[in-house]
Amino acid sequence: MSDLRPLFLRHGDRSLLRKRVGVAFLMALFVAAPSIAQDPVEKTIQQGPASYLVGSASCASSACHAKPNPLGADTSTVLREYATWIDKDPHAMRAKLTLASETFDAIVKKVAQLQRSDDTARARQSCLPCHSPMSLAESYHTGSSNASPLEQGIGCESCHGPASQWLNRHFDSRLSVEEKQTLGMKPTSQLKARAQACAECHVGSPNASVTHDMYAAGHPPMRFEFASYHTRLPKHWRAANERRRIAEFESELWLAGQLAGAQSELAQWLATTKRKPNAPSSIEKPAAIVKPRELANFDCYACHRQISLSPTRWSTVSRSASDLREALAAPRWRTWNMAFLFDGLAPAPNDIDRDRFLRALASQDVDQDKAAHQAVIRLGEQITGESVPHTPTTDNQPDSQPNSRTAVVIDCLEKMLSRMEASGSLNWDEACQLYLGLTSLDRSVRDSAAVKQAEDAANKLKLASKQREAIREALRFTPDDAEKPRLWATSQVDEASVVKAMRECLENYRSLLATKGTEK
């Protein structure tokens, strides 16, 4: 479903996601009437007063966020946010270049072609919620679909929320974060809210999803991991302060990203799943023809792999016939964004194991496993309903203890790794998430003052880095070679040795952190 509801129609209040899901759900009921879906005006009326985008230029006054910096006299990032953004942030310049590129035009053209339409405007519009929200807003105001996407990058309001209601008040120190939030300003100083803001585009939302048509036309794969993206983003805020303010910053960052990813994924799933009004956890059996779920949500390599005739494929799998069929013959739901959902991130629904949960997500047929389907809906509603989701804790490390957050991270990684060791095979998406989790762990360990003082820490860190590098090499694609397969060829990788390296690496970090514990 390509809903084109502009970003500026979004609310910024606490129950942001809940409402958005609700709206999307209402819209899902109207799928049969595309004229409604195509008419934003009608929706505005339904929505009542709304926040809308005003454009980044409004923030860029020299007295506000674009303070000049004569001869480098002022090294503070504060009040120079706009300059940092426009000079260094890929959301500014690179986003513009992307839209100006031939590749972008070609992708739009091909998406239109796949949709059997000569009119590229509609295909182009489906890109704009993420790639150029301002031009979508402009086209809404002017009624033209040809607004130049070049003028704006992905500006301030894409992350901070549409500013129409708070632009003139947000500097008022009497306003609390909560009050600002009701006006549409996102509390990006909280890591979870920040992660959600990123995930809205980088994972997707009911209003902005990357479709298989877009991938086929050339859209790069979506593989978002908040902590690593965050690390690379040029900061236009007091990053050092923040790291001091938030205990176990890196682990908080990683957990916030994992939660936001699962949240976005489930929000999109819920939006395309029909439910009875006023009975959110029950399922309405679709009366009309069931359309296959959007292919983009499935594990790419479930289908995009070379046909294998290896007898080990089916002889070593000790499963029931129906499980085997599900495992080998049907597309699998993509686990990139939910890699750790049941590996420590969220309590598994009663009696529904991970495989069954993923099958229910992938299933076209609600009757196939009603219990699992309802469990997905319940968990989805629970997770997406919380604007600031609850961070899990572990049993053996109470919240008040030092390293409690990092312990949760280790717990997640441990559970996934044990699962891999038990199955004896790697799923590329999950293996990469595990690698990125180890990398986050590495940053956590380096942050820790105790580890810095500990003897032998430098050597251990060096060793762990080497191990991570080896894992990275094993998992990486051949870069920038058009003719080399963009497929991670399992046949060329010794899966067991990768799993072993991951285990050694994890144990290394675990012992480094334990060092700190004993010193205390």
Binding site: A217, P292, I307, P311, L328, A329, P485
Partner: protein, 572 residues
């Protein structure tokens, strides 16, 4: 039961003299008035057709060692036993969901289980047996299943039809004069007729929804090797022939009027009258050629003089497309599945390809086969399009009506199918159903038109010039399997223009193989795997499938196009 055969001394011809056995059998058959032809024990076939090689006489009508040749050399015999090879057991178990022997009474896998709690397993196994044995979905009678010998794989009656109604009759000399329709009604397809033969072979090697012959995506995913492209004429050539060429058999049969002496004629008349559905006098043609190739259908010409290999290949090309369309039609007409649609009717490589940058960004290729939507299987269309282009313009007076523009009709039919199958992801069922039906209709008409077409040297040369040379009309971007189709036909043309008829017991020798594949060797390698070797072991079957996948991914359509532009028929 023995049917004595006596070799007539006169002219070396065989007269089959009937004993009461045949009459008894015939009256037994007449008891079940409207019953369908039933499977009978093939001991009856072997009694006559399995003479030792040394007893075979080259100039007789009946090939008395046909079964011997088949038993010794024909791979169809292993169609069932291959399921139980150690190397295949794991994959068969995963496909079935249970061990093969669980559907049987005995460990030797001879008798299907009749236990009620195993009925489901037997039913599941039967979906394999439609192609892996002589089992047919219309087997109603337990006796039929009991009469079937699974150890024989795809045996006599799988191709020649269920024999209960004709096993006696076909021993009569006049049987060869009975027209194809009547034989067909009695259960025996006329395999001399290339269209019937092509349909039969393709029904397993490509599929046939009506007979529940289909390899589903579940089967593939759980271990069935991918079905490769198939061209019946060259495949038949690779079999050890247990038949005579049409030309030689027609010569013998048409000369053999003396076989019906007055005595046997009298018996024949009695036998015909005793049938439940007596054969009308006008259903007996003057001779074998007239019976198999009625003038009404084949025009006023000597069909036996047609170049046989190219002819079979032409019909097979159309039949393969019909087989495939029977599957797209059946899956589209199924009630929309709650889970995934059947993937097996889509081109494997449209999903099963590696994700390459160049692949994804190849924006110039925006035809019906564009990336992003799984598309129809492509290889079955290469030959129908070539045939459509090669058909003669019939004389205006002949039919009275204007000749349909075959190339445009077939081309647009396939384009409509492509559109329907990519209209949305996994196709729009209603549109796929309509496109399949239309195309099936058109291909049936094309087959009729082809029957009237003399497959003489002119036609064959015309076909060849469309494949190779300055007037070639092949699409520039043939895929591996389409290229195989074209290459096979080219090889059959080469053999027709140069080769000799094969006699029973003769297998295509190296010279034949060389003549057909010579133009398609890359550095001495059969890169299209046109002459895949006959295999009996599971390992080599698996290896063949692996080789095919490898050759498929290494295939370069541009190289092939250049190669085929430059080849010439190797002359004698």
């Amino acid at each position: 039961m023995k049917s004595p055969i006596q070799h007539s001394r006169r002219g070396g011809l065989i007269a089959v003299i009937f004993t009461t056995t045949a009459l008894v059998a015939a009256s037994a058959a007449s008891a079940q008035v409207t019953a369908k032809p039933a499977h009978v024990s093939e001991h009856q076939c072997v009694d006559c057709h399995r003479q030792p090689f040394s007893n075979e006489r080259s100039n007789t009508f009946i090939v008395t060692n046909a079964a011997e040749i088949w038993h010794k050399h024909d791979q169809h015999r292993h169609a069932f036993s291959v399921l139980n090879l150690p190397v295949n057991q794991a994959r068969v178990t995963s496909m079935l969901g249970f061990k093969l022997e669980e559907a049987f009474e005995d460990k030797e896998l001879r008798t299907l289980s009749s236990a009620p709690d195993r009925a489901e397993k037997v039913t599941k196994l039967k979906s394999c047996l439609t192609c892996h044995s002589s089992y047919q979905t219309d087997f109603t009678d337990e006796h039929e299943i009991a009469a079937m010998d699974l150890a024989d794989g795809v045996s006599c009656q799988a191709c020649h039809g269920q024999a209960s109604k004709w096993v006696s009759l076909h021993q009569e000399p006049w049987w060869r004069r009975v027209d194809s329709d009547t034989k067909h009604k009695l259960g025996m397809p006329t395999l001399r007729e290339p269209a019937a033969k092509a349909k039969l072979c393709n029904s397993c090697h490509v599929g046939d929804a009506a007979q529940s012959k289909m390899v589903t995506h579940d089967m593939y995913a759980l271990g069935h090797p991918p079905l490769p492209s198939f061209e019946a004429s060259s495949a038949i050539d690779r079999l050890p022939a247990h038949w005579r060429s049409l030309k030689s058999i027609a010569e013998i049969a048409n000369a053999d009027t003396r076989a019906e002496d007055s005595r046997s004629l009298k018996k024949s008349a009695a036998l015909i009258r005793s049938l439940a559905e007596p054969i009308a006098e006008n259903k007996l043609a003057a001779n074998l050629s007239a019976a198999v190739f009625p003038e009404s259908e084949f025009g006023r010409r000597d069909v036996a003089s047609d170049l046989p290999r190219t002819k079979t290949a032409a019909f097979s090309g159309i039949a393969a497309a019909q087989s495939y369309l029977s599957l797209t039609l059946a899956t589209a007409n199924q009630p929309k599945p709650a889970s995934w649609p059947e993937f097996a009717t889509f081109q494997c490589s449209s999903c099963h390809h590696e994700l390459k940058k160049s692949d994804r960004r190849d924006l110039a290729k925006l035809g019906p086969f564009t990336q992003g939507r799984p598309h129809a299987i492509g290889w079955t269309r290469a030959l129908p399009l070539l045939i459509a282009q090669s058909l003669d313009q019939p004389a205006a007076a002949h039919g009275g009506t204007a000749k349909p523009n075959w190339p445009a009709k077939i081309q647009s039919g396939f384009e409509a199918l492509d559109k329907a199958m990519t209209k949305e992801v996994f196709g729009d069922s209603a549109a796929v159903s309509l496109a399949s039906q239309t195309l099936l209709q058109d291909l049936a008409e094309l087959t009729s038109a082809l029957k009237k077409q003399p497959i003489d040297k002119t036609f064959v040369e015309g076909l060849r010039s469309r494949i190779s040379g300055p007037n070639a009309s092949l699409p520039s971007d043939l895929d591996f399997h389409s290229a195989r189709q074209v290459a096979w036909v080219y090889g059959q043309i080469a053999l027709d223009l140069n080769g000799a008829d094969l006699q029973p017991g003769e297998r295509r020798n190296d010279a034949h193989a060389a003549a057909s594949a010579a133009p398609f060797l890359l550095e001495g390698k059969d890169f299209l795997l046109l002459n895949s070797s006959r295999t009996t072991s599971g390992e080599s079957l698996l290896k063949a499938a692996k080789d095919r996948l490898q050759s498929e991914s290494a295939f370069d359509s541009e190289k092939f196009r250049k190669m085929i532009q430059e080849i010439t028929v190797p002359s004698k």
